[in-house]
């Protein structure tokens, strides 16, 4: 009967994903249906092109960085587990109280993990530091051609100056967290699921 998706998701898999990510059963099945509709090649994985086919994502200035977050180092395909794991960062935090099966380790959508996701958007070479160069590149992605190099440079300098506490001229994850201390990360980085 499963001629529609290549396979309907197995119950055990759903349970595992539930434990790992905290999504509910119906959310997982719905997201699986979304995953298969994006998977044009019908091989159970998504490539970067599959993501870029979403127009709203393609016009997002940080679209490429976000897409990159789904792919582990050096890989070109992401399967459904990986897809869910990354999306789990966007689950609202208060949902954790409802979920009795919460993983013993920190849940994927904790404040820290959300901030880590954001940090990695800046950290292009994955060396756990945001250098001036990386900051400039990301800024350039966000503003396009509308701001001059000098102006952008001064914005980058000021930002690093304010954030950098140990004087190495780059921003570490701890420094990043300190800067965003007062920001309502939960609200800004959560997707409101309707079910």
């Amino acid at each position: 009967m499963g001629s529609r998706a290549s396979t309907l998701l197995r119950e055990e898999e759903i349970e595992e994903i539930k434990k790992e990510t905290g999504f509910s059963h119906s959310q997982i099945t719905r997201l699986y249906s979304r995953f298969t509709s994006l998977d044009k090649g019908e091989n159970g994985t998504l490539s970067r092109e599959d993501f870029q086919r979403i127009p709203e994502l393609a016009i997002n200035p940080l679209g490429d960085r976000i897409i990159n977050a789904f792919f582990p180092e050096g890989e070109d395909q992401v399967n459904f587990r990986g897809f869910m794991r990354t999306l789990a960062h966007f689950r609202p935090i208060e949902d954790n109280e409802k979920n009795k099966n919460a993983a013993p380790s920190e849940p994927l959508n904790s404040r820290t993990n959300k901030l880590l996701f954001a940090f990695r958007l800046y950290d292009l070479d994955r060396d756990d530091k945001i250098s001036r160069d990386e900051l400039l590149q990301v800024l350039r992605m966000m503003v396009g051609v509308n701001i001059s190099d000098e102006q952008l440079g001064s914005i980058a300098d000021r930002t690093i100056q304010e954030a950098d506490t140990n004087g190495d001229n780059s921003i570490s994850f701890n420094e990043f967290m300190k800067v965003l201390e007062k920001v309502d990360v939960e609200q800004k980085m959560s997707i409101r699921f309707l079910h």
Partner: protein, 430 residues
């Protein structure tokens, strides 16, 4: 000896069945069609089907509850499917999807005033918007079949309906048998005989305002879901068609049709030359003897939940536009032709083995381009009229996104919006 007699009794059986079938056909389909009389069989058939679907879905729900899981149901606006189908107002028709999206512009969400400094936290906004579009977006939704609240016992419409009990499976099996034997063969016969008075499957649910029907020298525009749109409109009036030249079966049909009346078929390469298109259209409408042109300005099949951008070409020609809204009832079978997934033949097969194709056609009052209105504005005005009448979502996205990538310009626009947040609206932007 026994062989021979069972053979002949088999023959008799077959003959009797055929005879019954033909009599039934003549009595119940052809004669009433010719005389224009209806037995009300179709509405009975539809009502029965709906009851069966509701029962099947409620069985599945009970099954789900037993396992203590929630059944995902799309379009949860709290309206019943009957109401959803007949709804005309645009606000109610906005598909809810799985998440609630923020629609505020970057400026409102990120800052209270423009011209304030960059913050590291700004990246959170973009990442959330990105994740939202990955989970659900307006465009890719349009190019796959609409999801249903109740399952209509077709495997092709089964997205998420698990926990299917034995009884429902049995019903499904019966349905398969019924659809592929009776209904499929029924349609073929009907199409052989007379094709204008609709196979029992194609049911018009009326609601046409006769005086708004397109006249010669005008252009009729409609939203596009399937090639069957053409058949449905052609049932009710004669048109000249405009479209891309196809290969294969469609190409054969196109060449045949040209022999009957003047149609305008384009090569894709020619279609890019707007002036050529406009000229051919203009010449056609100027000739009052020629039939009204039927155009689908979206340029591609969309899944009948939304109306996508209307290409301005047909709205540049100086003549009256007759808008037509077509809405299919998705509960009986999905009419949408996903041309990137199915060819025309497999599509027709699926169509003919659906329970029924039910549609509403609304002929809207004719519209003309107003003074000072550009072709694009006019196109958008017609599009909103069609969308609100048909209860469809009015989108600005281009139907061409089905196959092509989105233009870089849109990204540049987003970047510009964000830059405004950082530096405000000063001249230094240029």
């Amino acid at each position: 000896m026994t062989w021979f007699s069972s053979d002949s009794s088999l023959c008799t059986c077959v003959c009797v069945t055929l005879a019954l079938w033909w009599t039934h056909l003549v009595l119940f389909v052809i004669v009433p069609a010719v005389l224009g009389v209806s037995f009300g069989i179709r509405s009975f058939y539809m009502r029965t089907l709906l009851k069966v679907f509701k029962w099947a879905t409620s069985r599945i729900e009970t099954g789900a509850k037993e396992k203590n899981e929630e059944l995902y149901k799309p379009d949860c606006t709290g309206k019943s499917s009957d109401e959803m189908f007949h709804v005309k107002s645009l606000t109610l028709a906005r598909l809810v999807g799985i998440i609630a999206k923020g629609r505020a512009a970057p400026l409102q969400e990120l800052r209270s005033t423009a011209g304030s400094d960059f913050e590291l936290a700004d990246v959170l906004y973009f990442s959330r918007r990105g994740a939202e579009s990955i989970v659900d977006d307006e465009v890719t939704r349009c190019f796959s079949a609409q999801e249903l609240e109740t399952w209509n016992l077709l495997t092709r419409s089964n997205y998420n309906f698990r926990h299917i009990s034995v009884r429902v499976t049995a019903l499904w099996g019966l349905g398969v048998l019924l659809r592929y034997t009776v209904i499929l063969s029924y349609t073929q016969v009907i199409h052989h005989q007379i094709d204008h008075h609709a196979a029992p499957q194609v049911i018009h649910s009326g609601q046409t305002l006769r005086e708004n029907k397109p006249q010669n020298g005008g252009i009729c525009v409609a939203n596009h879901t399937t090639p069957i749109d053409v058949i449905i409109l052609a049932n009710d009036g004669c048109y000249s068609l405009v479209g891309q030249v196809h290969r294969g079966l469609m190409g054969v049909l196109q060449r045949a049709m040209v022999k009957a009346s003047s149609h305008i078929w384009f090569e894709r390469s020619e279609a890019k030359d707007r002036h050529l298109v406009a000229k051919r259209l203009g010449d056609h409408v100027a000739d009052k003897n020629k039939l009204p042109i039927l155009i689908f300005p979206e340029g591609t099949c969309v899944n009948n939940t939304s109306v996508m951008m209307f290409k301005k070409g047909s709205f540049e020609v100086d003549c009256t536009i007759y808008p037509v809204a077509i809405k299919y009832d998705p509960r009986f079978g999905d009419a949408f032709w996903n041309s990137s997934k199915f060819g025309i033949v497999s599509y027709l097969l699926r169509m003919m083995s659906s329970w029924a194709i039910v549609c509403s056609v609304w002929y809207l009052p004719p519209m003309n381009r107003e003074e000072g209105e550009s072709a694009v504005e006019f196109a958008n005005r017609v599009k909103s009229a069609i969308a609100s009448q048909g209860g469809l979502v009015d989108l600005v996205w281009d139907g061409g996104l089905k196959r092509a990538k989105v233009k870089e310009d849109f990204k540049k626009e987003q970047q510009k919006l964000y830059s405004k947040v950082l530096v405000g609206d000063t001249e230094t932007e240029k």
